[in-house]
């Protein structure tokens, strides 16, 4: 096949679906504009804080734990994705697949044990 001529026609419905979903959301919001009330006043438009006037701006510094979780997620999710192609051809590659499984999961467990040991998985110490 010449490069540039491949048309992923199986994915056409997906594209239509994405457009449809976007259209649905935008159109409902847009049509609704002509029907709903609009009576804003300053107090109503404040950020909700159980009726108190909003105290210091909400974009404060937050726990470093969230960054740690995000980094661990990147590592483990990529490893999970690497398992997918392996799982799909498991039947076809025979004994190699089994050896590879133990190797890969062993490596993953080393990283996992390290994270656990360093208390990266503890929320509160």
């Amino acid at each position: 096949m010449t490069p540039g001529t491949f048309l992923p026609s199986d994915y056409l419905p997906i594209m239509v679906m994405l457009i449809f979903a976007t259209g649905f959301g935008v159109v409902t919001l847009w049509v609704g504009r002509y029907f709903r009330l609009r009576r804003p006043y300053a107090e109503k438009l404040e950020a909700y804080e159980s009726g108190n006037p909003p105290s210091p701006p909400p974009r404060f510094r937050f726990s470093i734990k969230f960054y740690l979780i995000a980094i661990l997620f990147v590592v483990f999710d990529v490893e999970a994705i690497f398992l997918y192609p392996w799982a799909l051809v498991y039947d076809k590659i025979g004994i190699f697949a089994v050896v590879e499984m133990f190797l890969f999961i062993f490596l993953l467990l080393v990283g996992y044990a390290y994270a656990w040991r360093k208390e990266a998985l503890e929320w509160e110490k």
């Binding site: 199986d10 679906m17 649905f24 409902t28 919001l29 504009r33 609009r38 974009r59 979780i69 929320w123």
Partner: protein
Amino acid sequence: MELLWILVKILIVFGVVMLHVAYATYFERKVIGHMQVRMGPMRVGPHGLLQPIADGIKLFFKEDVIPTPADKQVFYAAPLICLISAVSSLAVIPFFEGFAIANINIGLLYIFALSSLASYGVVLSGWSSNSKYAFLGGLRSSAQVISYEIAMGLSLVGVMMMAGSLNLTDIVHAQMSSSFKIYLIPQFLGFFVFVVAMLAETNRTPFDLPEAETELVAGYFTEYSGMRFALFFLAEYIGMIIMSCIGVICFLGGWSGPFHVPGLPFFWFVIKVYLFIFFYYWVRATLPRYRYDQLMALGWKVLIPLALFNIVLTGTIKSISG
């Protein structure tokens, strides 16, 4: 012509799913009501049957309050991101033999991709609202969703190994020709991890910390009202239906059943999805909410090792018997 056919299919699926979302809320209130020895909605229509329609009309006409401190563009975009990723996931679900809007080879991967995209909507809404509750809710929710996504991704690897495909139709076919007919029996560990991760992914009780009313009001969508709130709500319920569908397809044999029901090829599929939805409500009425550190510990220290063990177990058994 082909495009028209696709559109018709989309409209049918979307219409049916929207109807289910509407009545899933009614069903939820009725189930939980009766479990708590109350009646649930009774006023609108016979036995409150028109309640979801009244709710829909109310939400449509409600004032759309956009708080002054909010970051407008992002605030507008966030509910749309949630909705688009939830609705688009429907495209690959095979509801019965030969009926899926798009029968693509990477079905399962596509669903994972879209459910990851949905967490953008959550983070962005939490951030753009510029309100404390929304901010904390968004943070919590994103950390929770990404933690359980790993467990969920790993729990389905066993199914992929047995079926040898990511195509949802092929997974169902592989199950029909397997010795147990459903993967629930050989993959019970995977199923357990999947169900727990499913509850956490859709932010349902006992893992509904992002929207824990008693501490965070409504979590990341505190500042949203009217139709924008409704879009989040729709996305959450469609997400529940999608997760139920994935559970049914990967573990319970999809549209296959003990006997053939003439004229209703989707009969068994729908029954199994209803069971899952009922399970969601049953859990909600039964279990108290987790604490945040317990939630993270459960995800990282129990579910991920269990899912990995399931992969090793499946691999070993397959190569011994294979």
